[in-house]
Symmetry: C2
Subunit: 365 residues, 2 copies
């Protein structure tokens, strides 16, 4: 480290680009030592404790000294070293947001919701994308736990997150968002009401005469998918219709995936008259493919998508969507995390209800 060269404990004022820059130690070569609280204290002729008290308002200090210290702090543009502060205080005012991927605008909006609320409450946000890699997820959470963040909002990769028990037992605040593990009920979570989402969308199609409804999901074996399928089943049951496994198809949350899913679903079950599609990109791919197959929407195939992407209204035909409020989910998740941080016993499951936005693509307008 270049600054280990026998430093003179003195602060130089050097001129640099029209402004004064204050540097500690030798100024020849690449020597840029950061100013510390000790330097401030020395210059103000007080102890470091006093400086700390002035900065944090933890003790009353006479106005004279207060002003003197503040002036020096300003002059040096001094900011307390976060690492030292974190170490001593055992807290970082930073939260971790661990998502498994950014498949669609839904997750993106949710991230912005979390970020917004964090900013409002003075927290920093460490964003991590595990890319659906469960080992990386566990590794990451371990790392974050080691004094990097005060708590974590996690949208887990898999439905099975047994490893979280360890952190719960250690009392490390974790809040689940969007996805969860039904076997771990005593962990707070904020999600959309996915059962209702599946139910409402399906009911809407059933009410308008559809009987063979395809269901294109993005990822298997996560609660968002499973709950929506359960809602879908419940609606079918309500109409005394049988549930057929072969009406389900996976689309991997991409445009191409959506197109391929439509292709295989329609070759397998050619009598399908409606589709419920779980992410915006898949919906776009599906519409593309349907047009390619010279079928018309909604005459030949009706469509309900999930998540109201901006272009829904100007697509031909405008797309009916069922939506959950990702931004609110994100904000709420952060608030829940704060509650959990402040009260280790806090456990609450929040489910936000869906809304149906009817447009032409479902033929029901």
């Amino acid at each position: 480290m270049f600054w280990k060269i026998n430093c003179i404990e003195k602060i130089y004022t050097i001129k640099c680009r029209k402004r004064l820059i204050l540097v500690k130690g030798l100024t020849q070569g690449v020597v840029f030592l950061k100013i510390t609280m000790k330097d401030i204290a020395k210059e103000a002729n007080v102890s470091v404790a006093t400086v700390s008290h002035v900065i944090n308002g933890t003790k009353h200090i006479t106005e004279e000294k207060h002003n003197k210290i503040m002036k020096i702090i300003k002059k040096y543009n001094y900011i307390p070293n976060s690492a030292a502060k974190n170490l001593r205080q055992q807290t970082t005012k930073t939260a971790g947001l661990v998502v498994s991927s950014f498949p669609d605008t839904f997750v993106t909006e949710m991230v912005y919701g979390v970020e917004e609320r964090a900013r409002e409450t003075g927290y920093n946000l460490l964003l991590i994308n595990t890319n659906e890699d469960i080992e990386y997820e566990e590794k990451t959470i371990n790392l974050l736990h080691s004094q990097m963040v005060d708590g974590i909002i996690l949208s887990p990769t898999a439905k099975n997150i047994e490893y979280l028990h360890e952190f719960m037992d250690k009392n490390f605040p974790i809040v689940l968002v969007n996805r969860y593990d039904p076997n771990i009920p005593n962990i707070p979570r904020v999600t959309g009401d996915n059962f209702q989402t599946g139910y409402d969308a399906t009911m809407h199609l059933l009410k308008h005469g559809h009987k063979k409804i395809g269901f294109i999901y993005s990822v298997p074996d996560v609660t968002t998918t499973l709950d929506r399928i359960n809602g879908y089943k419940a609606a079918l049951t309500k109409y005394n219709l049988p549930f057929k496994e072969s009406y389900l198809e996976v689309g991997y949350a991409t445009v191409n995936g959506g197109a391929n899913a439509v292709q295989s679903l329609l070759t397998r079950e050619s009598d399908v008259t409606a589709l419920f599609i779980q992410t915006d990109l898949m919906t776009i791919g599906a519409i593309q493919k349907i047009k390619e197959l010279s079928l018309t929407i909604p005459k030949d195939i009706a469509i309900i998508g999930f998540g109201d992407f901006a272009s829904s209204e100007i697509i031909d035909p405008p797309v009916t969507n069922i939506v959950l409020p990702p931004h609110v989910i994100g904000r709420t998740a952060f608030d829940v995390l704060l509650s959990k941080i402040n009260n280790p016993d806090y456990v609450k499951h929040i489910e936000l209800p869906p809304t149906l936005l009817t447009r032409k693509s479902c033929g029901c307008i």
Copy 2:
């Protein structure tokens, strides 16, 4: 702090949910002391230095001790405290990404690019959105500078970022992305070639006979906008056409903003036959408004948008877009930051070229 109660320096093994949890100190009530390196060392009958060397591979340790220590580490699921590590090493392996807002899929994609590269190189990412608040931006960068991150990727709010001089003089690694300040050339940056973007899009319209071309931008006085306007002007000059200020209109990067911009532009300059629109949401709003006005695209008004959003192809009519590669820009920016961290003298300006994706909306197919 509840753990201040006269702790017994001993580690208990308690049973909890089928697994063993190891806790230091008293186990009654809410006492969860984290295991430290000292505990590991004590149990292994070695010094903390040895444990540290084993963990970091900084010195050769006999296999016997090595294994013993590793076993204990595993048993306790021990991870070194990051705050202490950061403090001692004066580095955090964390980068800050400061953006001014998330107006469109472009910025979002760029963020994912940065995140992806950070993950690949073992860095953590602190994401901050300044919400176009320049004071918050400066405050944030100050905070991050204080030992929270090793460097920053910044997409600044304003064109004028004089305050950065201070950090440059202090040798704190900052890389600009997307936007920059032309008055500060000696700071590395990664952007799209916005001049070329404006030039190419305009040229394409001019080539196909358009002479009165409206330009809807999102934010005034940032380089992305200014450079594209310059490209637009250059193309007009090439065709010996005059530049008219009144063909420019601001749209604030929202759907409604785009719609309003079209409205006011067309009332002011009713003879406009083509529009070049700078963000996806504005494009969507513009198309909505144009349909509302019973004009047809591209017959009455041709459109070129910026940024290829997924639904471009299935909108009616499919939208011609000029694109820059946000994902690559993000990735590249992170690589540049790494270079800057490793070599304080590194300065490079990287500009990535645009691509035109021709579809029906510009009438040129």
